[in-house]
């Protein structure tokens, strides 16, 4: 069973708490990052960032962790969570779509909308946390290109400032 970092804003609070209970009942370790109670009109970015930070920190430490955000506006949560270095947040409306995001981009934060049907939302989370990146190097390489850009501003395979005399020499 994995660790799942949950958070919800007012638009997703009710569903978020229901999914938290289901995840705990299924044996996952669940950490709740807010809101602590229903607070109409609250702002989603701090929840999205908190979940993204917690997931990346855990994954870098070797803990098998995922994030789930349940928000009024899912697309906005995807944008916010992806500002965290190392977060790969996606929305998915079905178990199949969620598994696909794991397989193509090793997504680590799943963003759901508060209006989602609870049973489908739970099956989508279950698929998300049990699917894994296939043993295919192309997929890993593409993710590393994203991460290289995220950390160095280049997508070239290195992160070095070129001095004029260091520019690659092409031999005929």
């Amino acid at each position: 069973m994995s660790r799942i970092h949950f958070a919800a804003d007012s638009g997703g609070y009710e569903l978020g708490r229901a999914l938290q209970a289901r995840a705990e009942a299924a044996g996952h370790e669940v950490l709740w990052h807010g809101a602590e109670q229903l607070d109409p009109g609250d702002d989603y970015p701090r929840f999205a960032i908190a979940v993204g930070v917690a997931v990346v920190k855990d994954q870098d430490a070797g803990v098998d962790a995922f994030g789930v955000l349940v928000l009024d506006e899912g697309a906005a949560g995807v944008v916010a969570a992806n500002k965290v270095n190392g977060a790969r947040a996606v929305s998915a409306a079905s178990p199949r779509a969620a598994a696909n995001t794991r397989e193509v981009v090793d997504a680590n934060v799943l963003v759901l909308e508060g209006i989602a049907f609870e049973e489908n939302a739970w099956l989508t989370i279950s698929a998300f946390v049990t699917a894994s990146l296939p043993h295919v190097v192309d997929l890993g390489r593409r993710i590393l290109q994203i991460e290289e850009y995220e950390n160095s501003g280049t997508i070239e395979g290195w992160a070095v400032q070129l001095e004029p005399e260091q520019v690659a020499v092409k031999r005929e």
Partner: protein
């Protein structure tokens, strides 16, 4: 098939001036476990390896202290020592009980260029564990690569005295050798020697559990602020994936996975022209092996040639 007295690569030992910074990087980010610490000395293990340690760091001027190899038993230790004596190899010390961390029985010599090599047996091993899925830490030390100012002579020493075999070589467009990948068992290479301006460490390579762990680990190292100097890619020589980074001390270190295992009965070495980019990188996405990458991996001149480390 060649009968070899060396069974496998055990560990690399490096001296670095900024000792604590280098150690902290390897522990906090690279994913090794410190298993023994003495003043100015740190022994680091890989969780997936039964070797008691795979990297030893020592506080001093930058140099390669030594590279450790395992030998199957005491009879083989003595057989190898007798062979090397007969071949006039210069010894650091004769076969003896080893008193450092993890003990064992073995001896040390200088290789043809003056690097120190240790051959040992009977040391205390460590309980290895399976690296978990998506756990971004190395499973073991994969291989050690040296720069040599005299490539052919350096490589021939390992063939003549230790019965290493060349698995594959990289060549320049004019046909001259640039790098030899050498094996002491079925693993495609445990040691490689690259042509460089001077003798130094080219890089240390660490094996990850699989592609997912290799990708997760590399992402973690990028977030640590370390520079990725070449990669991500997949080598043709050895078929392994690669991502090269610079450690705080300026040592090139690699996360790799899926280094091939060869059938020694039938394996024929290849000579791969570096001008053909696909020989360096099957995907062609990791940049050509350029002057810059070569320079980044030249490293500082090894100050430890024909000088035995104090431990």
């Amino acid at each position: 098939m060649t009968e070899r007295l060396v069974s496998h690569l055990r560990y690399a030992a490096l001296a670095v001036p900024e000792f604590e910074t280098e150690r902290d990087f390897f522990v906090n980010f690279w994913g090794l476990t410190e298993v023994n610490a003495e003043p100015g000395l740190s022994y680091l293990a890989a969780e997936g390896s039964s070797e008691p340690f795979i990297l030893r760091l020592r506080e001093d001027d930058k140099r390669i202290d030594l590279v450790g190899f395992a030998v199957a038993n005491r009879a083989d230790v003595h057989a190898l020592a007798d062979k090397l004596h007969a071949e006039d190899v210069q010894f650091v010390h004769e076969p003896q009980e080893l008193t450092g961390f993890s003990g064992g029985y073995g001896f040390r010599v200088f290789d043809g260029d003056g690097r120190v090599l240790e051959f040992s047996t009977g040391y205390e091993t460590r309980e290895a564990r399976k690296i978990r899925e998506r756990e971004p830490i190395p499973a073991k030390l994969s291989h050690v690569v040296f720069n040599s100012a005299n490539l052919e002579q350096s490589a021939q020493w390992y063939i003549d005295h230790l019965d290493f075999s060349i698995s594959d070589s990289l060549t320049r467009p004019d046909g001259a050798s640039m790098m030899h990948f050498m094996r002491c068992n079925a693993t495609h290479h445990s040691v490689a020697i690259a042509m460089g301006p001077h003798h130094s460490l080219h890089h240390l390579s660490f094996e990850m559990r699989g592609i997912e762990e290799w990708m997760r680990g590399s992402g973690k190292i990028l977030r640590s602020g370390a520079r990725m100097i070449w990669g991500p890619g997949r080598h043709n020589a050895g078929d392994n994936t690669f991502a090269y980074f610079l450690s705080p001390a300026g040592n090139t270190i690699e996360y790799t996975t899926e280094l091939s295992v060869v059938d020694e009965e039938t394996w024929e070495p290849h000579r791969l022209n570096i001008k053909d980019v696909s020989n360096q990188d099957q995907w062609g996405t990791a940049q050509e092996m350029s002057e810059l990458i070569a320079r980044e991996s030249f490293n500082d001149i090894d100050k430890g040639l024909f000088v035995a480390p104090p431990v």
